[in-house]
């Protein structure tokens, strides 16, 4: 507390400082804005990274660490969004026999299917899957029940609605037991799913209906040869299982030597890695931007301070004459610059709260606002004020009172 001994009355000191800032408000606003923008981008980085991490954890938890997904089509086709069906029911049977695999879910999707209920129409995706689909996706029911083994084996025309489809067709009405038209197939609604929402990129995950795979392939699409996705769970080391799956599928598909895979395997770990890469590049980009913004505003602040020192020589002389020591002057200048950047920090936090939602919608990046953001932002703004104020404050403290006061 030694430093504060020189400023005996904090209240008067604080009020004076605010008056000074108000008097030089034109300059203050420049520095303030710079710092606020820098802090804004720091806030966005942190909230985004926190959000991405939380999302990664959520996905990981939902999938379970032992989950492996196999998609039709190789990496390149997936990247180009070309949808080719290469997996077959025979592949599924082969995978089932791999050591350690204890759960298998398969799916075949039909896109752009028109669904009707009374006079309402909606176009969506029909996912044909096995009865374990809902458990496997960790998807809870809002209403009703899933379809069972009997429905599956008998190719029953039954369906479960995603919340988006339910909203569009029923608009709050009770759908259970009602019949909707799926393409040309009338299907009974067994249940509705809770909203998942918050999907990163791609189509709305709630915009789909789920029917037994057998019904879809044999009564709706008339396509029994292929599957779009197989998902398995394993007791064994996932990395090892991924290798086993690759070997089996390459053999089934007759791929030899250097031929590329015509399927894509994703484990929970891959998804985690993906999110880490995304947040890493965000950090790099926004981190650079915010550091630049802070450094620039720090320089602006320092230069404006130099200007004010010239103007405030008399002010400094008076203070020295009336008992301010060099250290007292140093401290009061530092305090001024820290107050400016601190306000900038608070401004940046408020801005990020206001703009965060917009940013989230615009770039589809999940954000998570936590106390960490506030701590980080305030620390950074404090340091900016300290460093940019240090040199001007030292210069101000070196002014001799008699020089300053002289006519």
């Amino acid at each position: 507390m030694g430093l504060f001994l020189k400023i005996a009355r904090f209240r008067e000191f604080f009020e004076e400082t605010l008056k000074i800032l108000y008097y030089y408000r034109g300059r203050v606003i420049f520095s303030f804005s710079g710092v606020a923008l820098g802090i804004l981008s720091i806030c966005i980085i942190i909230t985004t990274i926190e959000g991405a991490n939380k999302k990664a954890r959520d996905i990981f938890e939902a999938l379970g660490p032992d989950s492996i997904i196999v998609f039709s089509g190789g990496e390149r086709q997936r990247a180009a969004r070309i949808r080719t069906a290469t997996l077959t029911p025979r592949d599924a049977e082969s995978l089932q026999r791999i050591d350690g695999i204890y759960d298998l879910m398969k799916a075949y999707n039909v896109r752009n299917v028109t669904m009707r209920y009374r006079d309402r129409k909606w176009q969506s995706v029909v996912v044909g899957s096995t009865p374990n689909y809902f458990d496997s996706m960790a998807w809870k029911f809002e209403n009703g029940t899933p379809f069972g083994e009997d429905d599956y084996n008998n190719r029953e025309a039954v369906c479960v609605l995603g919340s988006k489809v339910y909203d569009e067709l029923f608009k709050g009405e009770n759908p259970i037991g009602k019949t909707i038209q799926v393409g040309r197939l009338p299907a009974k609604v067994l249940g509705t799913l809770q909203e998942k929402g918050g999907s990163t990129g791609g189509p709305n995950i709630d915009d789909r209906i789920i029917m037994p795979l057998t019904t879809v392939t044999e009564r709706l699409a008339n396509e029994r040869r292929f599957l779009h996705m197989i998902r398995v769970k394993t007791h064994r080391n996932p990395d090892q299982t991924v290798e086993d799956i690759r070997a089996v599928l390459r053999k089934n598909h007759g791929l030899e030597g250097s031929a590329e895979d015509d399927f894509t395997i994703r484990s929970s770990k891959d998804i985690m890695n993906f999110v880490t890469v995304i947040s890493g590049s965000l950090f790099l980009f926004l981190g650079t931007a915010s550091v630049v913004a802070l450094v620039v505003s720090g320089f602006v602040l320092a230069n404006l301070f130099y200007l004010t020192i010239k103007e405030r020589r008399k002010d400094l002389g008076i203070r020295r004459a009336y008992g301010a020591s060099r250290r007292g002057i140093l401290l009061s200048f530092l305090f001024e610059s820290v107050i400016i950047t601190f306000m900038g920090g608070v401004g940046g936090i408020i801005l990020s709260l206001l703009l965060g939602g917009t940013f989230e919608r615009l770039f589809d990046i999940p954000m998570l606002f936590s106390y960490k953001v506030v701590v980080f932002a305030l620390t950074f703004s404090f340091l900016t004020g300290l460093f940019s104020g240090l040199k001007p404050a030292m210069q101000a403290s070196k002014i001799e009172p008699i020089e300053a006061i002289r006519g």
Partner: protein
């Protein structure tokens, strides 16, 4: 209160020595009202700066309030100024962004003394100097005389032992200047030690003791 023994002060311009004070011996006691008179360049302001602990002598001994002022740290000097001295300047030097009341409160920020209710005290001082209705005015809204009275209130807020005034009437007309000098006399009657530095011979009659500085030495020291 103040003892100066053979005080010398020189400025150096390159290699050349420029003597300003050439050996000042002076004693000023409690309750005195001294007019320190001299023409421009006589060294009176330098002397005042040394007495006011704003400048250091090159040679000689200065004892202030029983303390030898030599080689003291900036911190200690600042404390001594704060506790014992109130300054009044020719150009008033009020801070433009503070109103009258806040200007009076400036020394309080650095005060090592326990001044109770400084705001009330500042108000009382301003009221006493006829500025009760000017408390919230900015310096730019005050006349020269009013500004100087605010400055004197500022010099008094921290209850100093000594008031040092450098040409306090220099920027004022004769009548207003006279009023300011009357005010100093009133303060002196209440026991404050006052030193007024001036070049204006008309002010000589307000003090109780006249010290004339000529070419860096004391040429006259007499009771008025």
């Amino acid at each position: 209160m103040i003892t100066l023994k053979n005080i010398k002060k020189s400025y150096f311009i390159g290699e050349r020595e420029l003597p300003i004070l050439k050996g000042i011996d002076l004693e000023i006691g409690n309750g005195e009202f001294v007019i320190l008179m001299g023409v421009s360049g006589s060294g009176k302001t330098t002397l005042m700066n040394i007495i006011g602990l704003l400048d250091k002598q090159t040679e000689g001994e200065y004892i202030f309030m029983g303390r030898t002022i030599d080689g003291l740290e900036d911190e200690v000097l600042a404390n001594l100024r704060n506790m014992h001295i109130g300054f009044v300047f020719q150009q008033f030097f009020l801070l433009p962004y503070l109103n009258a009341l806040e200007n009076v409160l400036i020394p309080i920020v650095y005060s090592q003394k326990e001044i109770k209710h400084p705001r009330d005290k500042a108000r009382q001082l301003l009221a006493r100097f006829g500025l009760a209705d000017r408390v919230h005015n900015k310096p730019s809204q005050l006349s020269g005389g009013e500004q100087q009275r605010v400055a004197i209130a500022r010099a008094l807020i921290n209850e100093p032992d000594l008031i040092l005034a450098d040409e306090p009437t220099g920027a004022l007309d004769t009548k207003t200047g006279g009023e300011i000098m009357e005010l100093f006399r009133m303060l002196n009657d209440e026991g404050k030690t006052i030193i007024v530095v001036t070049h204006d011979p008309k002010l000589a009659s307000y003090g109780k003791r006249l010290i004339r500085i000529e070419d860096g030495t004391i040429s006259q020291d007499s009771k008025v």
